[in-house]
Protein backbone atom coordinates (compact mmCIF):
# COMPACT_ATOMS: atom_id res chain seq x y z
CA UNK A 1 0.00 0.00 0.00
CA UNK A 2 2.75 2.43 1.03
CA UNK A 3 6.16 2.11 -0.55
CA UNK A 4 9.03 4.37 0.38
CA UNK A 5 12.39 4.13 -1.29
CA UNK A 6 15.59 6.13 -0.98
CA UNK A 7 13.86 8.93 0.89
CA UNK A 8 16.07 11.90 1.82
CA UNK A 9 14.40 14.67 3.78
CA UNK A 10 14.96 17.29 6.46
CA UNK A 11 14.70 20.95 7.26
CA UNK A 12 16.24 23.51 4.93
CA UNK A 13 19.65 22.35 3.85
CA UNK A 14 20.01 19.99 6.80
CA UNK A 15 19.08 16.41 5.97
CA UNK A 16 17.67 14.26 8.73
CA UNK A 17 16.64 11.21 6.75
CA UNK A 18 19.39 9.66 4.66
CA UNK A 19 17.76 7.19 2.27
CA UNK A 20 14.84 5.47 3.95
CA UNK A 21 13.23 2.32 2.49
CA UNK A 22 9.97 1.24 4.07
CA UNK A 23 6.78 -0.61 3.04
CA UNK A 24 3.39 -1.05 4.60
CA UNK A 25 1.01 -3.65 3.20
CA UNK A 26 -2.74 -3.35 3.29
CA UNK A 27 -4.18 -4.38 6.65
CA UNK A 28 -0.84 -4.39 8.46
CA UNK A 29 0.05 -2.69 11.70
CA UNK A 30 3.66 -1.63 11.27
CA UNK A 31 5.81 -0.16 14.03
CA UNK A 32 8.67 2.25 13.49
CA UNK A 33 10.84 2.40 16.56
CA UNK A 34 13.82 4.55 17.40
CA UNK A 35 15.14 6.90 20.01
CA UNK A 36 14.25 10.55 20.24
CA UNK A 37 15.84 12.39 17.33
CA UNK A 38 16.31 9.32 15.14
CA UNK A 39 14.07 10.87 12.46
CA UNK A 40 10.70 9.27 13.17
CA UNK A 41 8.76 12.54 13.23
CA UNK A 42 10.52 13.82 10.11
CA UNK A 43 9.60 10.62 8.29
CA UNK A 44 5.96 10.83 9.42
CA UNK A 45 5.71 14.48 8.39
CA UNK A 46 7.29 13.77 5.04
CA UNK A 47 4.80 10.99 4.34
CA UNK A 48 1.92 13.25 5.36
CA UNK A 49 3.15 15.97 3.01
CA UNK A 50 4.16 18.56 5.62
CA UNK A 51 7.81 18.33 4.54
CA UNK A 52 9.00 18.19 0.97
CA UNK A 53 11.68 15.51 0.53
CA UNK A 54 14.89 16.30 -1.35
CA UNK A 55 15.17 12.87 -2.93
CA UNK A 56 13.43 9.51 -3.05
CA UNK A 57 9.93 8.22 -3.71
CA UNK A 58 6.78 7.78 -1.70
CA UNK A 59 4.20 5.68 -3.53
CA UNK A 60 0.76 5.22 -2.07
CA UNK A 61 -1.46 2.66 -3.75
CA UNK A 62 0.78 2.94 -6.75
CA UNK A 63 0.73 6.72 -7.19
CA UNK A 64 3.55 9.08 -6.31
CA UNK A 65 2.75 11.55 -3.51
CA UNK A 66 6.21 12.72 -2.41
CA UNK A 67 6.36 16.51 -2.10
CA UNK A 68 2.76 16.97 -3.23
CA UNK A 69 1.63 18.56 0.03
CA UNK A 70 -0.62 17.60 2.89
CA UNK A 71 -3.84 18.11 1.01
CA UNK A 72 -2.80 15.50 -1.58
CA UNK A 73 -1.88 13.02 1.14
CA UNK A 74 -5.28 13.42 2.81
CA UNK A 75 -6.97 13.10 -0.56
CA UNK A 76 -5.09 9.86 -1.18
CA UNK A 77 -6.26 8.49 2.16
CA UNK A 78 -3.40 9.10 4.56
CA UNK A 79 -4.13 10.61 7.96
CA UNK A 80 -1.36 11.57 10.35
CA UNK A 81 -2.05 11.78 14.06
CA UNK A 82 0.76 14.14 15.02
CA UNK A 83 2.76 13.95 18.18
CA UNK A 84 2.26 16.44 20.95
CA UNK A 85 -1.54 16.25 20.75
CA UNK A 86 -2.02 19.09 18.29
CA UNK A 87 -5.68 19.78 19.00
CA UNK A 88 -7.38 23.04 18.09
CA UNK A 89 -7.39 24.33 21.64
CA UNK A 90 -10.17 26.91 21.48
CA UNK A 91 -12.64 24.66 19.74
CA UNK A 92 -14.98 22.08 21.14
CA UNK A 93 -14.47 18.35 20.80
CA UNK A 94 -17.23 18.23 18.23
CA UNK A 95 -15.66 21.06 16.22
CA UNK A 96 -12.27 19.37 16.29
CA UNK A 97 -13.81 16.17 15.00
CA UNK A 98 -15.77 17.98 12.30
CA UNK A 99 -12.55 19.55 11.10
CA UNK A 100 -11.05 16.10 10.81
CA UNK A 101 -13.64 15.29 8.19
CA UNK A 102 -13.64 18.60 6.39
CA UNK A 103 -11.87 17.24 3.32
CA UNK A 104 -14.26 16.66 0.39
CA UNK A 105 -13.32 12.98 0.35
CA UNK A 106 -14.51 12.51 3.92
CA UNK A 107 -17.24 15.10 4.22
CA UNK A 108 -20.20 12.95 3.07
CA UNK A 109 -19.53 10.31 5.76
CA UNK A 110 -18.98 12.68 8.65
CA UNK A 111 -22.10 11.92 10.66
CA UNK A 112 -21.64 8.16 10.39
CA UNK A 113 -17.95 8.28 11.24
CA UNK A 114 -18.70 10.51 14.21
CA UNK A 115 -20.98 7.79 15.64
CA UNK A 116 -18.22 5.20 15.26
CA UNK A 117 -15.70 7.40 17.01
CA UNK A 118 -18.05 8.09 19.87
CA UNK A 119 -18.49 4.32 20.18
CA UNK A 120 -14.75 3.81 20.20
CA UNK A 121 -14.06 6.65 22.67
CA UNK A 122 -17.20 7.13 24.75
CA UNK A 123 -15.44 9.81 26.73
CA UNK A 124 -15.34 12.06 23.68
CA UNK A 125 -19.11 11.79 23.39
CA UNK A 126 -19.42 12.92 27.00
CA UNK A 127 -17.21 15.94 26.36
CA UNK A 128 -18.70 16.80 23.02
CA UNK A 129 -19.15 20.53 23.77
CA UNK A 130 -16.08 21.04 25.90
CA UNK A 131 -13.14 23.15 24.65
CA UNK A 132 -10.23 20.91 23.71
CA UNK A 133 -7.72 22.93 25.72
CA UNK A 134 -9.56 22.15 28.94
CA UNK A 135 -9.24 18.38 28.56
CA UNK A 136 -6.66 16.04 30.04
CA UNK A 137 -3.72 14.75 28.04
CA UNK A 138 -5.28 11.35 27.53
CA UNK A 139 -8.55 12.81 26.35
CA UNK A 140 -6.72 15.06 23.94
CA UNK A 141 -4.88 12.02 22.56
CA UNK A 142 -8.20 10.27 21.98
CA UNK A 143 -9.49 13.38 20.31
CA UNK A 144 -6.53 13.58 17.95
CA UNK A 145 -6.88 9.93 16.98
CA UNK A 146 -10.61 10.39 16.52
CA UNK A 147 -9.98 13.46 14.40
CA UNK A 148 -7.55 11.46 12.25
CA UNK A 149 -10.18 8.77 11.74
CA UNK A 150 -12.73 11.38 10.64
CA UNK A 151 -10.68 11.80 7.47
CA UNK A 152 -11.73 8.28 6.33
CA UNK A 153 -8.09 7.19 6.05
CA UNK A 154 -6.92 4.05 4.34
CA UNK A 155 -3.64 4.44 6.21
CA UNK A 156 -3.50 5.91 9.69
CA UNK A 157 -0.10 7.15 10.81
CA UNK A 158 0.44 7.79 14.50
CA UNK A 159 3.41 9.67 15.91
CA UNK A 160 4.19 8.77 19.53
CA UNK A 161 0.62 8.20 20.71
CA UNK A 162 1.81 7.01 24.11
CA UNK A 163 3.97 10.02 24.89
CA UNK A 164 3.19 11.48 28.28
CA UNK A 165 0.20 9.22 28.98
CA UNK A 166 -0.41 7.25 32.14
CA UNK A 167 0.03 3.45 31.69
CA UNK A 168 -3.70 2.96 32.00
CA UNK A 169 -4.43 5.41 29.21
CA UNK A 170 -1.68 3.90 27.08
CA UNK A 171 -3.38 0.52 27.43
CA UNK A 172 -6.70 2.05 26.45
CA UNK A 173 -5.22 3.82 23.43
CA UNK A 174 -3.42 0.75 22.18
CA UNK A 175 -6.54 -1.29 22.70
CA UNK A 176 -8.37 1.05 20.42
CA UNK A 177 -5.63 0.85 17.80
CA UNK A 178 -5.69 -2.92 17.82
CA UNK A 179 -9.44 -2.87 17.39
CA UNK A 180 -9.21 -0.48 14.47
CA UNK A 181 -6.56 -2.67 12.84
CA UNK A 182 -8.68 -5.72 13.36
CA UNK A 183 -11.52 -3.90 11.57
CA UNK A 184 -9.24 -3.56 8.54
CA UNK A 185 -7.48 -0.22 8.99
CA UNK A 186 -3.82 -0.12 7.98
CA UNK A 187 -1.69 1.52 10.63
CA UNK A 188 1.86 2.86 10.76
CA UNK A 189 2.98 3.57 14.28
CA UNK A 190 6.08 5.52 15.31
CA UNK A 191 7.10 4.93 18.89
CA UNK A 192 9.88 5.28 21.40
CA UNK A 193 8.06 2.74 23.50
CA UNK A 194 9.64 -0.26 21.79
CA UNK A 195 8.21 -3.00 23.95
CA UNK A 196 4.62 -1.92 23.61
CA UNK A 197 4.69 -1.07 19.94
CA UNK A 198 6.41 -4.30 18.96
CA UNK A 199 3.89 -6.18 21.03
CA UNK A 200 0.89 -4.84 19.06
CA UNK A 201 2.42 -4.69 15.57
CA UNK A 202 2.92 -7.30 12.83
CA UNK A 203 6.18 -5.95 11.54
CA UNK A 204 8.69 -3.43 12.70
CA UNK A 205 11.45 -1.08 11.52
CA UNK A 206 14.24 0.26 13.69
CA UNK A 207 15.42 3.73 12.72
CA UNK A 208 18.71 5.23 13.84
CA UNK A 209 20.25 8.54 12.75
CA UNK A 210 17.92 8.79 9.78
CA UNK A 211 18.54 5.28 8.50
CA UNK A 212 16.64 2.02 8.82
CA UNK A 213 19.03 -0.32 10.65
CA UNK A 214 16.82 -3.34 11.30
CA UNK A 215 13.57 -4.68 9.99
CA UNK A 216 11.54 -7.83 10.40
CA UNK A 217 8.59 -9.40 12.14
CA UNK A 218 7.87 -7.63 15.40
CA UNK A 219 8.27 -10.75 17.48
CA UNK A 220 11.71 -11.34 15.95
CA UNK A 221 12.76 -7.76 16.51
CA UNK A 222 11.65 -7.85 20.12
CA UNK A 223 13.95 -10.85 20.66
CA UNK A 224 16.83 -9.49 18.52
CA UNK A 225 19.92 -8.87 20.64
CA UNK A 226 20.75 -5.73 18.67
CA UNK A 227 17.40 -4.18 19.51
CA UNK A 228 17.64 -5.36 23.05
CA UNK A 229 21.07 -3.84 23.32
CA UNK A 230 20.06 -0.54 21.81
CA UNK A 231 16.92 -0.18 23.87
CA UNK A 232 17.95 -2.07 26.95
CA UNK A 233 16.66 0.58 29.25
CA UNK A 234 13.23 0.34 27.74
CA UNK A 235 12.78 -3.41 27.66
Amino acid sequence: MLEISGLVSGYGRISILHGIDLRVEKGELVALVGVNGAGKTTLMKTIAGLIRPTAGRIAFEGSEIAGEGAERAVAAGIALVPEGRMVFPRMTVWENLMLGGVHPRARPYREATLERIFDLFPRLAERRDQKAATMSGGEQQMLVIGRGLMAQPKLLILDEPSLGLSPLLVQETYGALRKLNADGLTILLAEQNVKLSLAVSNRGYVIENGKIVLTGASSDLARDPATRKAYLGRL
Binding site: L50, A70, V74, L99, A151
Partner: protein
Protein backbone atom coordinates in the same frame (compact mmCIF):
# COMPACT_ATOMS: atom_id res chain seq x y z
CA UNK B 1 -25.60 70.35 30.73
CA UNK B 2 -29.19 69.35 30.07
CA UNK B 3 -30.27 65.73 29.98
CA UNK B 4 -31.48 66.25 26.44
CA UNK B 5 -28.03 67.27 25.22
CA UNK B 6 -26.38 64.41 27.09
CA UNK B 7 -28.82 61.96 25.54
CA UNK B 8 -28.26 63.33 22.05
CA UNK B 9 -24.49 63.13 22.48
CA UNK B 10 -24.71 59.57 23.81
CA UNK B 11 -26.85 58.45 20.89
CA UNK B 12 -24.52 60.17 18.45
CA UNK B 13 -21.58 58.46 20.14
CA UNK B 14 -23.28 55.08 19.93
CA UNK B 15 -23.82 55.51 16.21
CA UNK B 16 -20.25 56.62 15.58
CA UNK B 17 -19.18 53.68 17.73
CA UNK B 18 -21.13 51.30 15.52
CA UNK B 19 -19.29 52.73 12.50
CA UNK B 20 -15.97 52.19 14.29
CA UNK B 21 -17.04 48.64 15.09
CA UNK B 22 -17.97 48.08 11.46
CA UNK B 23 -14.45 49.07 10.40
CA UNK B 24 -12.96 46.94 13.16
CA UNK B 25 -14.96 43.86 12.10
CA UNK B 26 -13.05 43.41 8.88
CA UNK B 27 -9.81 44.11 10.71
CA UNK B 28 -10.66 41.31 13.11
CA UNK B 29 -11.33 38.97 10.20
CA UNK B 30 -8.06 39.91 8.53
CA UNK B 31 -6.25 39.50 11.82
CA UNK B 32 -7.64 35.98 12.12
CA UNK B 33 -5.71 35.15 8.94
CA UNK B 34 -2.29 34.31 10.26
CA UNK B 35 -2.26 37.14 12.79
CA UNK B 36 -1.77 39.91 10.25
CA UNK B 37 -1.93 43.38 11.75
CA UNK B 38 -3.12 45.50 8.86
CA UNK B 39 -1.83 49.06 9.14
CA UNK B 40 -3.22 49.79 5.67
CA UNK B 41 -6.74 48.99 6.85
CA UNK B 42 -8.09 52.52 6.80
CA UNK B 43 -6.37 53.12 3.48
CA UNK B 44 -8.22 50.23 1.84
CA UNK B 45 -11.41 51.82 3.11
CA UNK B 46 -10.34 55.20 1.77
CA UNK B 47 -9.73 53.48 -1.56
CA UNK B 48 -13.28 52.12 -1.43
CA UNK B 49 -14.68 55.55 -0.63
CA UNK B 50 -12.88 57.04 -3.60
CA UNK B 51 -14.15 54.06 -5.60
CA UNK B 52 -17.69 55.06 -4.63
CA UNK B 53 -16.87 58.60 -5.71
CA UNK B 54 -15.57 57.44 -9.08
CA UNK B 55 -18.66 55.28 -9.66
CA UNK B 56 -20.89 58.20 -8.74
CA UNK B 57 -19.04 60.59 -11.03
CA UNK B 58 -18.86 58.22 -13.99
CA UNK B 59 -22.19 56.41 -13.83
CA UNK B 60 -24.21 58.49 -11.34
CA UNK B 61 -24.34 55.31 -9.29
CA UNK B 62 -25.44 55.89 -5.72
CA UNK B 63 -22.95 54.72 -3.10
CA UNK B 64 -25.49 52.35 -1.54
CA UNK B 65 -26.09 50.74 -4.92
CA UNK B 66 -22.33 50.59 -5.49
CA UNK B 67 -21.75 48.79 -2.19
CA UNK B 68 -22.19 45.22 -3.55
CA UNK B 69 -20.02 46.04 -6.55
CA UNK B 70 -17.31 47.37 -4.29
CA UNK B 71 -17.63 44.31 -2.09
CA UNK B 72 -16.91 41.98 -5.00
CA UNK B 73 -14.25 44.19 -6.49
CA UNK B 74 -12.43 44.46 -3.21
CA UNK B 75 -12.87 40.76 -2.54
CA UNK B 76 -10.99 40.03 -5.75
CA UNK B 77 -8.37 42.64 -4.93
CA UNK B 78 -7.86 41.16 -1.49
CA UNK B 79 -7.78 37.59 -2.79
CA UNK B 80 -5.13 38.35 -5.40
CA UNK B 81 -3.17 40.58 -3.10
CA UNK B 82 -3.01 37.87 -0.49
CA UNK B 83 -1.79 35.29 -2.96
CA UNK B 84 0.85 37.44 -4.62
CA UNK B 85 1.98 39.72 -1.85
CA UNK B 86 0.79 39.14 1.68
CA UNK B 87 1.21 35.40 1.99
CA UNK B 88 4.86 35.20 0.92
CA UNK B 89 5.74 37.98 3.35
CA UNK B 90 3.62 36.57 6.15
CA UNK B 91 5.62 33.37 5.82
CA UNK B 92 8.61 35.36 7.08
CA UNK B 93 6.74 36.34 10.23
CA UNK B 94 3.90 38.40 11.59
CA UNK B 95 6.08 41.48 12.01
CA UNK B 96 7.18 41.34 8.38
CA UNK B 97 3.49 41.26 7.47
CA UNK B 98 2.75 44.32 9.58
CA UNK B 99 5.71 46.12 8.03
CA UNK B 100 4.46 45.25 4.56
CA UNK B 101 1.14 46.91 5.34
CA UNK B 102 3.01 50.01 6.51
CA UNK B 103 4.53 50.10 3.04
CA UNK B 104 1.07 49.71 1.52
CA UNK B 105 -0.05 52.83 3.41
CA UNK B 106 2.47 54.79 1.36
CA UNK B 107 1.35 53.24 -1.89
CA UNK B 108 -2.37 53.74 -1.40
CA UNK B 109 -2.26 57.25 0.03
CA UNK B 110 -0.16 58.49 -2.81
CA UNK B 111 -2.09 56.58 -5.43
CA UNK B 112 -5.21 58.43 -4.30
CA UNK B 113 -3.35 61.72 -4.22
CA UNK B 114 -2.09 61.14 -7.73
CA UNK B 115 -5.46 60.14 -9.20
CA UNK B 116 -7.88 62.33 -7.28
CA UNK B 117 -5.69 65.20 -6.08
CA UNK B 118 -5.43 66.57 -2.58
CA UNK B 119 -8.74 68.42 -2.37
CA UNK B 120 -11.44 67.42 0.08
CA UNK B 121 -14.27 65.72 -1.74
CA UNK B 122 -17.71 64.47 -0.84
CA UNK B 123 -20.07 61.95 -2.35
CA UNK B 124 -23.79 62.73 -2.29
CA UNK B 125 -26.08 59.75 -1.69
CA UNK B 126 -29.82 59.25 -1.38
CA UNK B 127 -29.48 59.43 2.38
CA UNK B 128 -27.20 62.47 2.57
CA UNK B 129 -28.58 65.17 4.85
CA UNK B 130 -31.59 63.08 5.81
CA UNK B 131 -32.34 62.80 9.48
CA UNK B 132 -34.61 60.60 11.51
CA UNK B 133 -36.14 62.89 14.12
CA UNK B 134 -37.66 61.35 17.22
CA UNK B 135 -37.90 64.33 19.57
CA UNK B 136 -35.74 65.19 21.32
CA UNK B 137 -33.34 63.05 19.27
CA UNK B 138 -32.01 63.67 15.78
CA UNK B 139 -30.27 60.82 14.04
CA UNK B 140 -28.61 61.13 10.60
CA UNK B 141 -29.78 58.32 8.34
CA UNK B 142 -26.30 57.48 6.96
CA UNK B 143 -25.12 56.82 10.50
CA UNK B 144 -28.22 54.81 11.34
CA UNK B 145 -27.84 52.62 8.25
CA UNK B 146 -24.16 52.17 9.03
CA UNK B 147 -24.93 51.19 12.63
CA UNK B 148 -27.59 48.69 11.64
CA UNK B 149 -25.33 47.19 9.03
CA UNK B 150 -22.56 46.87 11.60
CA UNK B 151 -24.81 44.82 13.84
CA UNK B 152 -26.07 42.66 10.99
CA UNK B 153 -22.59 42.05 9.59
CA UNK B 154 -21.21 41.21 13.02
CA UNK B 155 -23.97 38.63 13.44
CA UNK B 156 -23.37 37.16 9.98
CA UNK B 157 -19.61 37.00 10.53
CA UNK B 158 -20.15 35.36 13.88
CA UNK B 159 -22.36 32.69 12.37
CA UNK B 160 -20.02 32.14 9.43
CA UNK B 161 -16.97 31.77 11.63
CA UNK B 162 -18.54 29.75 14.41
CA UNK B 163 -21.07 27.61 12.63
CA UNK B 164 -19.78 26.80 9.15
CA UNK B 165 -17.05 24.54 7.88
CA UNK B 166 -15.37 27.51 6.27
CA UNK B 167 -15.34 29.40 9.55
CA UNK B 168 -14.01 26.39 11.41
CA UNK B 169 -11.24 26.08 8.84
CA UNK B 170 -10.28 29.72 9.31
CA UNK B 171 -10.19 29.31 13.06
CA UNK B 172 -8.31 26.03 12.81
CA UNK B 173 -5.58 27.73 10.77
CA UNK B 174 -5.34 30.50 13.35
CA UNK B 175 -5.10 28.08 16.24
CA UNK B 176 -2.74 25.53 14.75
CA UNK B 177 -1.85 25.78 11.12
CA UNK B 178 0.19 22.55 10.99
CA UNK B 179 -2.68 20.54 12.38
CA UNK B 180 -5.01 22.31 9.97
CA UNK B 181 -2.81 21.24 7.07
CA UNK B 182 -3.06 17.65 8.28
CA UNK B 183 -6.84 17.89 7.99
CA UNK B 184 -6.35 18.42 4.27
CA UNK B 185 -7.32 22.07 4.60
CA UNK B 186 -5.85 24.12 1.74
CA UNK B 187 -4.42 26.76 3.99
CA UNK B 188 -3.46 29.30 1.33
CA UNK B 189 -6.85 29.13 -0.30
CA UNK B 190 -8.86 29.45 2.90
CA UNK B 191 -6.65 32.29 4.05
CA UNK B 192 -6.86 34.04 0.71
CA UNK B 193 -10.66 33.79 0.76
CA UNK B 194 -10.85 35.04 4.34
CA UNK B 195 -8.49 37.90 3.53
CA UNK B 196 -10.53 38.63 0.42
CA UNK B 197 -13.73 38.75 2.45
CA UNK B 198 -12.03 41.09 4.93
CA UNK B 199 -10.95 43.48 2.20
CA UNK B 200 -14.33 43.02 0.50
CA UNK B 201 -16.06 44.07 3.70
CA UNK B 202 -13.91 47.18 3.72
CA UNK B 203 -15.15 47.92 0.21
CA UNK B 204 -18.69 47.54 1.46
CA UNK B 205 -18.01 49.61 4.57
CA UNK B 206 -16.43 52.41 2.59
CA UNK B 207 -19.49 52.69 0.36
CA UNK B 208 -21.94 52.59 3.26
CA UNK B 209 -20.29 55.30 5.34
CA UNK B 210 -19.06 57.55 2.54
CA UNK B 211 -22.01 59.91 3.02
CA UNK B 212 -20.84 60.68 6.53
CA UNK B 213 -17.28 61.78 5.82
CA UNK B 214 -15.20 64.12 3.68
CA UNK B 215 -12.67 62.37 1.48
CA UNK B 216 -8.96 63.13 1.54
CA UNK B 217 -6.11 60.85 0.45
CA UNK B 218 -4.47 60.75 3.88
CA UNK B 219 -7.65 59.89 5.79
CA UNK B 220 -6.78 56.21 6.15
CA UNK B 221 -4.39 56.23 9.07
CA UNK B 222 -6.89 57.82 11.47
CA UNK B 223 -9.40 55.09 10.69
CA UNK B 224 -6.72 52.41 11.05
CA UNK B 225 -5.87 53.67 14.51
CA UNK B 226 -9.48 53.80 15.65
CA UNK B 227 -10.13 50.30 14.24
CA UNK B 228 -7.02 48.97 15.99
CA UNK B 229 -8.16 50.46 19.26
CA UNK B 230 -11.65 49.02 18.94
CA UNK B 231 -10.39 45.60 17.86
CA UNK B 232 -7.87 45.37 20.68
CA UNK B 233 -10.17 46.66 23.39
CA UNK B 234 -12.88 44.27 22.27
CA UNK B 235 -10.49 41.36 22.31
CA UNK B 236 -8.69 40.05 19.24
CA UNK B 237 -10.99 37.86 17.24
CA UNK B 238 -14.17 38.69 19.11
CA UNK B 239 -16.92 40.22 17.02
CA UNK B 240 -19.19 40.84 19.98
CA UNK B 241 -16.24 42.43 21.75
CA UNK B 242 -15.68 44.78 18.80
CA UNK B 243 -19.30 45.91 18.94
CA UNK B 244 -19.08 46.66 22.65
CA UNK B 245 -15.67 48.33 22.33
CA UNK B 246 -16.94 50.44 19.42
CA UNK B 247 -19.83 51.63 21.56
CA UNK B 248 -17.51 52.42 24.48
CA UNK B 249 -15.08 54.37 22.30
CA UNK B 250 -17.80 56.20 20.39
CA UNK B 251 -19.72 57.25 23.49
CA UNK B 252 -16.67 58.20 25.54
CA UNK B 253 -15.26 60.21 22.64
CA UNK B 254 -18.58 61.98 22.17
CA UNK B 255 -19.22 62.67 25.84
CA UNK B 256 -15.57 63.59 26.38
CA UNK B 257 -15.78 66.18 23.59
CA UNK B 258 -19.10 67.46 24.89
CA UNK B 259 -17.96 67.81 28.48
CA UNK B 260 -14.26 68.60 28.22
CA UNK B 261 -13.62 69.76 24.65
CA UNK B 262 -12.28 68.15 21.50
CA UNK B 263 -8.69 67.55 22.59
CA UNK B 264 -9.73 65.51 25.59
CA UNK B 265 -12.24 63.74 23.37
CA UNK B 266 -9.44 62.81 20.97
CA UNK B 267 -7.19 61.57 23.77
CA UNK B 268 -9.78 59.33 25.42
CA UNK B 269 -9.62 56.35 23.00
CA UNK B 270 -5.85 56.10 23.39
CA UNK B 271 -6.03 56.36 27.16
CA UNK B 272 -8.68 53.63 27.25
CA UNK B 273 -6.49 51.46 25.00
CA UNK B 274 -3.49 51.74 27.31
CA UNK B 275 -5.55 50.98 30.40
CA UNK B 276 -7.35 48.01 28.86
CA UNK B 277 -4.12 46.51 27.53
CA UNK B 278 -2.45 46.83 30.90
CA UNK B 279 -5.25 45.40 32.97
CA UNK B 280 -6.94 43.07 30.49
CA UNK B 281 -4.22 42.28 27.93
CA UNK B 282 -6.60 40.12 25.93
CA UNK B 283 -9.29 42.75 25.71
CA UNK B 284 -12.78 42.81 27.14
CA UNK B 285 -14.06 39.70 25.39
CA UNK B 286 -10.84 38.09 24.18
CA UNK B 287 -9.95 34.47 24.78
CA UNK B 288 -6.67 33.53 26.36
Amino acid sequence: MSAEVLLQATVQGLQMGAIYALIALSMTLIFSVGGLLNFAHGDFMALAMYGALALYQSFALDAYAAAPLLFFGFFLLGFLMFRRLVQPVLAAGVLAGAQLTLGLVFVQENFLLMVFGGDYLSVPTVLSNKNLVIPPLTMPWPLLVGSLLAVVLAAILYVVLMRTDFGRQVRAITQNSDAAALMGIRIDRVQAIAFGIGIGLLGLTGAIIVAQFTLTPAMGLDFTLIALIVMVIGGLGSFAGSMIAGAIIGVSESLGSLLYGGTVGAMIPYAILVLVLLFRPHGLMGEH
